[in-house]
Structure formats: structure tokens, C-alpha cells
Symmetry: none
Subunit: 241 residues, 2 copies
DNA sequence: CCGATCAACTTGTATATACAACCAAATTCA
DNA sequence: TGAATTTGGTTGTATATACAAGTTGATCGG
């Protein structure tokens, strides 16, 4: 484990493969080096190289066939789904007026769930922002975001009324990956107040964790009133199961 | 590899753990045997037992903490946004029991919204199916589906208890494209009855239009109880509290 | 020419081992 | 008593090895 970057060995190989795929040095459906070749090239055991390939397969970057090899998969149209969820862009795309109201911006001890998500120790300081997004003066979404101080040390110095956290983080720590959960829930007290909705109004809650090259960057709850917001997307299906 | 069932060893362990979880012999958030204990118990190496635990973790059945142990996760159903995966596959992938109950299967005059979506004339005959999907005897999703008779003329002749509409349509009219809308709504009377939920329970409604080579094939409302279902990628954050 | 066989290579499964990282509880020590 | 340390257990990473299972292409024999 004497990597210069202190990175895990299989992660190094993942990064290498991802860079080859992103730059199209390895085009779609082309065969990539075998487990043994990668193992030799990186000076690791086959099982370690194998692990990198397996994780990329689960992420949909590669597909593998026993006896044949590993290949570059078609890029999933996940980007459309991911981008569409940037609430500010979405509002402006509809030609409406977007306003962000900063309710809170502080550093606080990391709750357990967030610690797990960001890879921090519990109660370690974590940056927190609470923002209400308006569409034409009507509150639309409540954004509660926790940010990893190791990745974005100057988060508290930003002005999130002029620039949304999403915009700022995109510039500072380019998004490489995102995980998300969409749920239908009833609003808690805080949400009710800021969105100005009754307790019986169902809400769409998007829980989202984003990654950059350096690791987990932020963890956010994005809660919207069900009557005012919905999530849409378009998917193209790729063969080669 | 001389299992009596011809099954892979790690799959045997997965089955064992799943049975314990399903019968609630191992309740939520309880600790399960360690890797070493399972390895000894099943007479396999630790790495093999470990693999079973890892796959169950990826499926959301377990969560693990270094230095502490492996625990039973909350059983909320979860489906992937990034892949067009139907509810039946999703349930089976979690190792649970799926049952479909056919409530209605008929031809009716096409409502306006559906006519637009499928490119039919208003009040032209359209095929309609109403199905309740169960996960382990609990109603999970109500599927109301309109099917284009020009694309799939023998839809009404199918047995949708043995084969889901999604499976049948995939075979007859291979999916090339899909559009989604995700919303949080309160259930209508029909949904309440079939999902056996109170009127105040928020629901996640997925409206989906699918296309094949020939054009628009089907238009469906997939409504699930918010407390039992969520939509997401691989985000698995579990509170240890 | 064609089919069968074989050899080489790839991914899949499984084992045994070692050490690192981490946590919780018991123990020790001031 | 209370803080620091130790200890034992657990998951995480990595290696080396072996064989199974599957595909491909070359070789051989009719």
C-alpha cells in the first residue's frame, strides 16, 4: 500500500480504465486488456485487477463474457437524469425565475448517517447549508446539504444566493459519480414551514450523494412539494445484455 | 463444487441469510454471524462467505461496518432509475417472492391522455390491464397499463399471472426507448383499496411510456406505497444510531 | 473441403494466508 | 475515579494459487 496518492490499488486501476474510456482511447464495444495483462502492467495480483473490472462492470462501464474478454459498454444516458435534477437549471429552462434563499450556512458535528456517506468520523466537523429554491416567488424545493470539508475547504466562504451549491461544487470538484434515492414522504416540520405546505401534502425527496475524483464530496436531501414538482427523464435502451 | 443442488457455494450462503431475514429470525438492524463464523458453519473459506455478504450488501439486504459487524438492513423495496427494470425482476433480485394478481384485462375506449401518448384517436379501442404486484404477500405496486392494439394485437389473450406484461411486451415488441415521470401523490380510491394503505400515505407514481421499433407501445401508471418502495441507484446509507 | 479435436486464452469460483484498519470493551495506571 | 492503553474481534485489502467453464482459432484427419 505504498501508492504515491495513498489510493487503493484497485481504485488506481479503475481510474486508469475510466480515463481511457472517457477520452475514447478505448472506444465503445472494444476489448480491453485481460485481467492478467492489467495485473502485470500495474504490478498487482490478478484478483486485485479483477476487482477493478468487476466494480466497473457493476457501474455499467464495462461488460464481460466468460471465455472471451472485457469490453467497453455503451454509455448509459444517466447524464440526462442526473442533470435534470439541478433545480436551478430546470426552472430557468422552463423560462421561469429562480431565486435561492440561504437559511443556514455553518459547520456542525457530523451526524452518523452523513459520516457514513462521506467517509468521515462521527461528530467530525462537516459543512452544512440549508437553502430554499423558489420558482417565480413560490417555494419549490428545500435543499439540505452536507459537504466534506476535506474536499471543499472553503465552502463556508461562498455566496450561495448568487451561485448555487451545485454550481460551485461542479466547478471545484467535478462530478464523476452520483448515487440517489427517490422517495415519496410526508414533510417534517422544517420542510412544511419553508415550502409553505400542509402536513398532508406528499413530497418527493431526493437523497443524493456525489463523488469527485478525490472521493465523496457532498450528501444532500432535496425535498419538493409533490403538487409543484415532478421528475422526468428519457432513457434509451442499449442491447448487449 | 459438488453441492447437492449444484449451486455455487456463495449462493448457498446467500440463500441461507435471505431465509433468515425473510422469516424475521434475524430482525432489522440485528447483527448477523461474522464472516469467520459463516465460513466455519458452511465449511468454506472466509473469502467465499465474504462474497455472499458483499453481494447481499450491494442488494441492500445488509449493511456492514468495519470493526463492528454485518447487520440486517431495512427491507424497503428499491428499484433502479438508471435501468429499465420492472418490479418483478427487482423483487426477485432481492430474493423475495413476487406474485401478480390480475384485476382487470379488457378493451376500452381510449382516454384523451392515453390517445396522445400512444398516437391513437380518442375513444379508439385500447387494451387495458390492471395488475397488483405483491412482494412476499404484501401489495407493493398497482400497475395500470394501456397497450397499443396496433403494435400488440394479441395482448388480451395473455396470462399475466404467470408472465408479467413487461416480460411479454419485451418479447413481442423489444424496448428501444422509454420516457418517465416520477411524482409524489396521494392515492386515489382504487389505489388505496388494492395497496391496502390509508388515504394519507404518500405514493410514488411512475408514469412510463415505452417505445419499440414500430412506435409507442404502452403507457402505464405504476403506483407504489411510499413506505414500501423507493427508486434509486445504489445508495445505501444505513443509520447505526 | 469439412468436421472433429486440441491448444491457448479468458473469465468464474474457491481456497489459504497475511496484514491493515477499525471499533468496542476490558484492563491498566495515574 | 477517570483517562489512557491493551486486547480481541470484525471487516477491508491484497497476494498467490488452483482448477472450472467457456470461447476462439489453429491443427489434424477423413
Amino acid at each position: 500500500m505504498d501508492n504515491s496518492a495513498g489510493q487503493k490499488k484497485f481504485a488506481t486501476i479503475k481510474d486508469y480504465i475510466l480515463s481511457q474510456v472517457e477520452t475514447a482511447a478505448w472506444p465503445e464495444h472494444s476489448r480491453i486488456p485481460s485481467e492478467n495483462e492489467l495485473a502485470t502492467q500495474f504490478g498487482v495480483s490478478r484478483m486485485t485487477a479483477r476487482r477493478a473490472l468487476q466494480e466497473l462492470t457493476e457501474q455499467g462501464v464495462l461488460y464481460r463474457t466468460q471465455g472471451v474478454g472485457s469490453f467497453v459498454a455503451s454509455p448509459k444516458s444517466q447524464s440526462s437524469l442526473l442533470e435534470i435534477r439541478n433545480i436551478a437549471d430546470e426552472i430557468q429552462r422552463r423560462g421561469h425565475f429562480h431565486k435561492a434563499e440561504l437559511v443556514q450556512l455553518t459547520s456542525l458535528p457530523c451526524p452518523g448517517v452523513v459520516a457514513t456517506a462521506l467517509g468521515l468520523s462521527r461528530n467530525a466537523p462537516v459543512f452544512f447549508s440549508l437553502i430554499v429554491h423558489y420558482e417565480n416567488q413560490q417555494p419549490l424545493q428545500l435543499e439540505a446539504r452536507y459537504v466534506n470539508p476535506e474536499q471543499v475547504p472553503d465552502y463556508l466562504a461562498q455566496d450561495f444566493v448568487l451561485q448555487t451549491p451545485h454550481e460551485y461544487l461542479s466547478a471545484v470538484a467535478p462530478l464523476t459519480d452520483a448515487e440517489h434515492i427517490v422517495e415519496a414522504v410526508l414533510p417534517d416540520e422544517l420542510t412544511r414551514q419553508h415550502l409553505k405546505i400542509p402536513a398532508s401534502e406528499p413530497c418527493l425527496r431526493l437523497t443524493r450523494r456525489t463523488f469527485s475524483r478525490g472521493g465523496a464530496v457532498s450528501f444532500a436531501y432535496l425535498t419538493s412539494a409533490g403538487s409543484r414538482y415532478r421528475l422526468g427523464g428519457h432513457l434509451t435502451i442499449h442491447p448487449k445484455t
